[in-house]
Symmetry: C2
Subunit: 217 residues, 2 copies
């Protein structure tokens, strides 16, 4: 068994691995060479025990009396997350949000390269979206195979999202980042992460409403 | 005590309230009048018991033998989330992602109205960003008071985000939707929800990498 690819890591631990990586990259930019589990946890409000437990899922990285080597740990965590290589990604939905995501530079710096753009609206097909020609959904299978794409971003209206998801699964997509405000039904072999921006805002309005009770407006 | 504003609702329940609301809105668009807890839970892969428990935090809405009245429940849940009124929202960061979020129509339809845009880059001040003139951060306090803004969206680079958050808190902002890939330290009276798009993608690449082990490439 490959120790960098364990089978039973809890989701919250995987999420924290991303946060550790973000923090380690910040340390590396400041030319820091080593870090302790306490220092790594501090800025994320986590205990050193939690940090050590999470990292232990992926192997033994610490050096007694020294801590973790920053660049070595970055390399190992990227391997663990699968971002030591570049992933070709496709986008479905060339509307406002889709174009915004195309312009967002935070994906490519983390190993995700947008290589194809699709839209279900016939009037958009063949038009330019940044460096990409917008393709019809009928090309999904061919493009996915030709460019070895396994991950897709869905930025279509709620009512179109399940149909798009079905076509993505059919085309061989294995992971979907979904911005449509709807739950997608996919086979267990396909991973969906949903980002519903309105839900995020509602959580904030709920908390702010609560904390304001009894206070002057 | 106002039963629509309870103090001790777990975060996951609040998040599910948003999902119920999304589902109820879909039912309402299809002119559906009533729904059972089972039907409401089904599309979200939740049990009817979970649905009833979550809704019970906010009051007794069900009608024996009939289920929930769709439009009545929508009204009650919007009141509970604080989105029965419109929230004025400000945006800090008029870069690619910020402009994308400005163009995103999903916020306003849920009760969040973007009324002011700020940027720390002096060269952007006074320029147009959609319908808004970009303001300097020195105007935060004045604008926040003048327009009764309590919620902010942060779409600035990681290295600027904490400083921006400090200024937002100082200006009276009580809730922050943070897109900068960094943890923000704020007082307990301020709510932060972070959306790190690269973290979301890393979770997907991790899952897809895992599920591909032993499979042909």
């Amino acid at each position: 068994m490959d120790p960098s690819r364990p089978e039973s890591i809890p989701d919250p631990a995987v999420r924290r691995i991303s946060l550790y990586l973000r923090q380690l990259e910040a340390f590396s930019r400041k030319d820091r060479r080593t870090v302790s589990s306490k220092q790594l946890g501090e800025s994320l409000s986590l205990t050193d025990a939690q940090v050590r437990k999470d990292l232990a899922y992926f192997g033994q990285f610490g050096h007694p009396g020294i801590g973790y080597n920053v660049d070595e740990l970055i390399t190992k965590l990227r391997q663990a997350l699968g971002t030591d290589k570049t992933w070709n990604v496709l986008l479905v939905g060339a509307g406002n949000l889709g174009r915004a995501l195309m312009a967002y530079r935070g994906f490519e710096s983390k190993g995700f390269k947008l290589v194809a753009v699709f839209d279900g609206d016939a009037s958009k097909i063949g038009k330019q979206a940044g460096p990409h020609l917008i393709q019809p959904l009928t090309e999904l299978g061919r493009t996915t195979r030709a460019q070895s794409i396994r991950v897709a971003i869905v930025a279509v209206p709620a009512e179109a999202a399940q149909d798009v998801a079905d076509q993505l699964v059919e085309a061989g997509i294995r992971g979907i980042l979904n911005f449509a405000p709807v739950s997608l039904n996919v086979p267990a072999s396909v991973t969906v992460n949903s980002v519903d921006l309105a839900v995020q805002m509602e959580q904030i309005s709920f908390a702010v409403s609560l904390s304001s009770i009894g206070q002057p407006p």
